[in-house]
Amino acid sequence: MSRPSEKVAPPAVGRRIVHSHDGGQPGTHATLKGYLTGFVLAAILTIIPFWLVMGHVLRDRDLTILLVLTLGAAQIVVHMIYFLHMDTTSEHGWNMLALIFTLVLVVIVLGASIWVMYNENANMMPMSPQYAQHHLGQ
């Protein structure tokens, strides 16, 4: 039984030991340092977008939105690496393959829906006040 110690000396070696099977237990290559690093990074990546929005730091609304979304995406990557312990070697790469497949489909579903609906809204005939009055009772 090889248990990963809290202070594994070279990370590459530590990883190999864990993958040579601690009774097949996953997630054991987690370390205290890894969780704390993840926590600090996640906290920083949370505080910045809150500060940007709540403090009205930037005049430019679109730039703020872009920054918030970018920092959110960065934090998701941090969670993946430090909390979910994603790497290309775990489960022989199968969970990375599943993740990539999922991401491709999510990007298609999200991106294409937003694209299509944006164009539909932009090309919609504007509703006349008369139509609104007669048909919607407004």
Binding site: T46, T64, I65, H79, W94
Partner: protein, 200 residues
């Protein structure tokens, strides 16, 4: 046929060492699709206020900050429980699980309070397409956390009774993935639905 004949095909069924964990990962990926479609609804309908309250009117960013902190701390506490499990410390594992569960319960409690407040103000899910998509997405996440807490309590009883057996370790590993996954989804919720929502 002598025994030295080389075999170029696999005689056994290939199967991964951590079948349950890989399977659970596939489940999480399918859950990703559920959330992706709900995020899409919110992206498309998020500004359809139907002359009702906008995101900036109804969403409380201070409460959101507290909730986000609770969930992140809960996620890290679960990580500590897994570290204690790796070192065969049953009591420490149970203690950290209890901390993670309590923080998540605080999260759900605050969220229910916020929902009740919004409904009382007339900003319920029936008010506009924006609010429908908001309640569906955030509510689905909250339900996941609630069921995670039920699972966590079940595991605490299991570990308390039978100890850190191989089965319980495997189950806790799956639950830890579920727990961290929900925190990951929450990053998308607070960034996109709340912070970007109030700016749209």
């Amino acid at each position: 046929m002598n025994s030295a004949t080389p075999q170029f095909y696999c005689t056994e069924e290939p199967h991964p060492d951590n079948g349950a964990v890989l399977g659970f990962w596939i489940y999480l990926m399918s859950d990703c699709f559920v959330f992706a479609s709900l995020f899409t609804c919110n992206a498309v309908l998020g500004t359809n206020y139907a002359a009702g309250p906008s995101a900036a009117d109804v969403l409380d960013l201070n409460a959101l900050a507290v909730n986000t902190a609770l969930l992140l701390l809960s996620s890290v506490s679960f990580g500590f429980a897994m570290l204690a499990m790796a070192r065969d410390r049953k009591r420490a594992t149970l203690a950290w699980l209890a901390v993670a569960g309590a923080l998540a319960a605080g999260f759900v409690g605050l969220e229910i309070g916020e929902f009740a407040h919004m409904v009382a103000e007339g900003a319920g899910p029936d008010r506009s397409a924006f609010l429908s998509s908001f309640f569906t997405l955030v509510g689905t996440h909250g339900l996941h956390v609630t069921f995670g807490i039920v699972w966590l309590l079940t595991m605490m009883v299991q570990v308390g009774r039978y100890g850190l057996t191989a089965d319980n370790r495997r189950r806790l590993s799956c639950l830890s993935m579920f727990w961290h996954f929900l925190d990951l989804i929450w990053v998308g919720v607070f960034s996109f639905v709340y912070l970007v929502g109030v700016l749209r």
